[in-house]
């Protein structure tokens, strides 16, 4: 009897030891996370994830949480490791800082709020945990952030050249000749999951989902929004040309005051009837 008690006790002790060891094993693919000068821990992040994120993004991180059926757009599926708002080239993983910035900023016009109320450490822990949902974080490194040269002055020449590029690059096929998101291909667009998706309407919006600075706008078309129809133009646009395009795009935003828009409106006043139409109209279609 005494012997069996001893055995039971040692068995229990053993089980306790295993239980202690499990937390280290539970998040086996912990690649860590480094952002905002902090280091994230996936095991800690898991606790926060289960509290704040699981409702939409789901226990498995596949974007199929309890609330997901009622949401549009759908919550991000982390198992694909495919992210839209990156500082890195198309086809590469984002940096931890990119993910941190998305959590911090929230996503305009969606149900994803800003998570500034959580401490920076909590947010970095969450990043570490989110990275355990796809094995890609084990086998690939984050891409190298693209280099953005200093912004040149917002002059009418820059704006006009940007306008020419908007036509040449055929941005209007989706975004429409006036940037209203009503180009000929607009209604057919879907994201990678087959969900309908709209091109950005520059007239309505004030902020972009990836931020609101000119650098953010530059990044959108030079990295592409992976998982959406928006491609990267890094192979077709020189950095200086990209800035000209940024300046032109700013003229399409009546709700966002900018030097570009002011110089463009002045130009329009003095050049009535001389501005060539763009898009299908320009091709007589």
């Amino acid at each position: 009897m005494a012997l069996s008690k001893k055995i039971t006790r040692s068995l229990m002790l053993g089980a306790f030891g295993v239980a202690l060891a499990i937390p280290g094993v539970a998040v086996a693919q912990d690649a860590g996370a480094h952002a905002a000068g902090l280091t994230g821990n996936a095991e800690t992040g898991k606790q926060y994830y289960r509290r704040w994120c699981v409702g939409c993004h789901g226990k498995e991180g596949n974007g199929e949480g309890e609330n997901a059926p009622y949401l549009d757009p759908k919550p991000r599926d982390f198992t694909e490791a495919l992210f839209r708002w990156r500082s890195t080239p198309t086809g590469t993983l984002p940096t931890d800082q990119d993910l941190y910035d998305t959590i911090t900023r929230g996503v305009v016009d969606t149900l994803m709020p800003t998570w500034r109320p959580l401490t920076p450490q909590t947010r970095v822990d969450l990043i570490a945990y989110i990275k355990t949902f796809s094995p890609k974080w084990q086998t690939q490194k984050a891409g190298t952030p693209i280099t953005i040269p200093p912004e040149p002055p917002q002059t009418i020449d820059s704006v006009l050249h940007g306008r020419q590029l908007f036509d040449q690059m055929q941005c209007w096929k989706c975004h429409g000749p006036e940037g209203r998101g009503d180009g000929p291909s607009a209604i057919t667009l879907t994201d990678d999951k087959g969900e309908p998706i709209r091109p950005y309407n520059f007239h309505d919006g004030t902020r972009f989902r990836c931020g609101e600075t000119n650098q953010d706008l530059y990044k959108i078309f030079m990295t592409g929004l992976d998982g959406t129809p928006m491609p990267s133009f890094a192979d077709s646009l020189k950095p200086q040309d990209a800035w000209d395009l940024v300046h032109f795009l700013r003229t399409l935003q009546p709700n966002v005051p900018s030097t570009s828009r002011t110089v463009w409106l002045d130009y329009v006043k003095t050049h009535q009837g001389q501005i060539k139409p763009m898009g299908a109209d320009a091709q007589g279609q």
């Binding site: 495919l82 055929q170 129809p229 491609p231 990267s232 077709s236």
Partner: protein
């Protein structure tokens, strides 16, 4: 002195690689040939409406149809990828460039078979912009714009898989990259036939893939000469 040493090394290297190649390809290597056909009623391929891109619409009179199933007389199937899926004793990576073209708002070829890590080039020969958007699972997805007059896009794929490719600007554009883990593969021609060359003697599992009808496999034994493998897919009207 030093250069001499490197020259000797280089020559030795060449010699040894030449030996390896001969060793990997015994004299008695054979071929696997056959035909891909289907039974049943396949869905009808629909004419593509390119009126939103008049430049391309003009190039196709009468309009081309969708290419999910490209069948010929006698229910033969074109663009079926036939490859050794098991039993292959390693193959040399191809160094030739696999070329993929966008012409008339259409992908040519519709299915491009290439090896993993083989260099690939994508051309836009249209006067309109395309975006090339491959949708891989095992490899990394990307999406690049290619306005008219752009240089070709250089790429390669690390892992074998069948990758659907689309252009978001022209939603009818649809094709495949068949990334192979072997050099022993072939695509069926317009008459549905294929030939896999230079197969060393041995037992193999051969798989045939058709984008709409899925895959068929069979065991094939190659003992020099010609081994036969015909594949019959089952077509459903949807």
């Amino acid at each position: 002195m030093r250069t001499k040493f490197f020259v000797v090394l280089f020559v030795l290297g060449l010699a040894s690689s030449a030996m390896l190649v001969t060793a990997a390809r015994p004299a008695a290597s054979g071929t696997i040939t056959g035909k891909a056909t289907f039974t049943g009623t396949p869905p009808k391929m629909k004419p593509i409406d390119m009126s939103k891109e008049p430049v391309c619409a003009k190039e196709h009179n009468p309009p081309i149809t969708t290419q999910d199933i490209e069948s010929g007389p006698g229910n033969t199937l074109q663009d079926v990828v036939v490859y050794i899926s098991a039993g292959d004793q390693g193959s040399a990576p191809a160094t030739t460039t696999a070329k993929y073209e966008q012409k008339g708002c259409q992908y040519m070829p519709h299915v491009l078979a290439l090896q993993a890590n083989q260099p690939q080039q994508i051309f836009n020969n249209d006067p309109v912009a395309h975006n090339i958007h491959p949708l891989p699972k095992a490899n990394s997805e990307w999406n690049k714009s290619q306005p008219p007059g752009s240089p070709p896009i250089d790429t390669k794929w690390e892992k074998p898989e069948f990758i659907a490719v689309k252009c978001n600007i022209h939603p009818w554009m649809h094709g495949y990259f068949a990334v192979m883990g072997t050099s022993h593969y072939a695509l069926t021609g317009a008459d549905g036939t294929f030939t896999i060359k230079d197969v060393p003697p041995g037992k193999y599992t051969v798989t045939a893939w058709q984008e709409h009808m899925g895959t068929q496999t069979q065991e094939v034994t190659v003992a020099g000469g010609e081994a036969k493998a015909n594949f019959t897919f089952k077509a459903l009207p949807y």
